[in-house]
């Protein structure tokens, strides 16, 4: 299935892009993360949370969402 992955803040510095579309198997968030780690090797040194369809999810969550986002630490306010 086709998903959109969005990158923010220092994560976007690592990926050198703010978003991309990826064709992936229906899998878990953690499997998707392995794919991304392989593609962007500096990612593993970064602190981030993952949102699926705008809700934070854990690694063992099933990948169902059309929109995944890698979110570095929040700094609002």
């Amino acid at each position: 299935m086709l998903i959109t992955v969005k990158y923010f803040g220092q994560i976007a510095e690592v990926t050198q892009k703010e978003e991309e579309e990826l064709e992936v198997a229906k899998t878990s968030i953690s499997k998707l993360l392995e794919t991304l780690n392989a593609r962007y090797t500096d990612l593993k040194n970064k602190d981030f949370q993952i949102a699926q369809n705008q809700e934070l999810v854990s690694l063992d969550t099933e990948l169902t969402g059309a929109e995944i986002a890698l979110l570095p630490p929040f700094a609002g306010g």
Binding site: K6, F8, G9, Q10, A51, Q54, A69, L71, P72, P73, F74, A75, G76, G77
Partner: protein, 148 residues
């Protein structure tokens, strides 16, 4: 807590000015059931970090999720506290040291409520809203801000 109403954006491009805040206060003077206002303002600090001084913060956000979170915080605050009104504004883009990047404004007939509500809202924003801050030093190098 999903809501299907269109959600008003909380974000404003650049700093929040003192005129904007003053004007927002002014607009509440027709609401004569209000007895107490409480306002939180986040201001960009010129922190010294290893000999370098922060000149500005460049704010970005996962806007759709952030506006949804702001909306959830708003709904939850209205549920918990007897508020007459509530306004939240957050900057995007560059906000210089000394300028204001967050403006939270709550009003109620009575004062006890506004203290509790304002702290609840500000802490929820810091914890749950995906906003990112790039601290730009005077020498144009940068580091990423993390809320504590």
């Amino acid at each position: 807590m999903k809501d299907k109403k269109p959600i008003k954006s909380v974000f404003k491009e650049g700093a929040i000015t003192s005129e904007f805040i003053g004007n927002s206060i002014y607009k509440h003077q027709t609401k004569t059931s209000i007895g107490a206002h409480n306002i939180f303002l986040g201001q960009v600090r010129a922190d010294d970090i290893e000999g370098k001084t922060v000149a500005a913060i460049d704010y970005t956000a996962y806007e759709d999720m952030a506006n949804e979170k702001f909306h959830e915080i708003r709904e939850s605050a209205f549920e918990k506290f007897e508020l007459t009104c509530m306004h939240i504004y957050h900057s995007l883009g560059t906000v210089k040291a000394g300028e204001i990047c967050l403006f939270v404004f709550v009003s109620s007939p009575r004062r006890k409520v506004v203290f509790e509500a304002l702290e609840y809202i500000v802490e929820a924003i810091k914890a749950h809203v995906p906003v990112f801050g790039k601290e730009i030093f005077e020498d144009e190098s940068h580091q990423w801000k993390v809320n504590t």
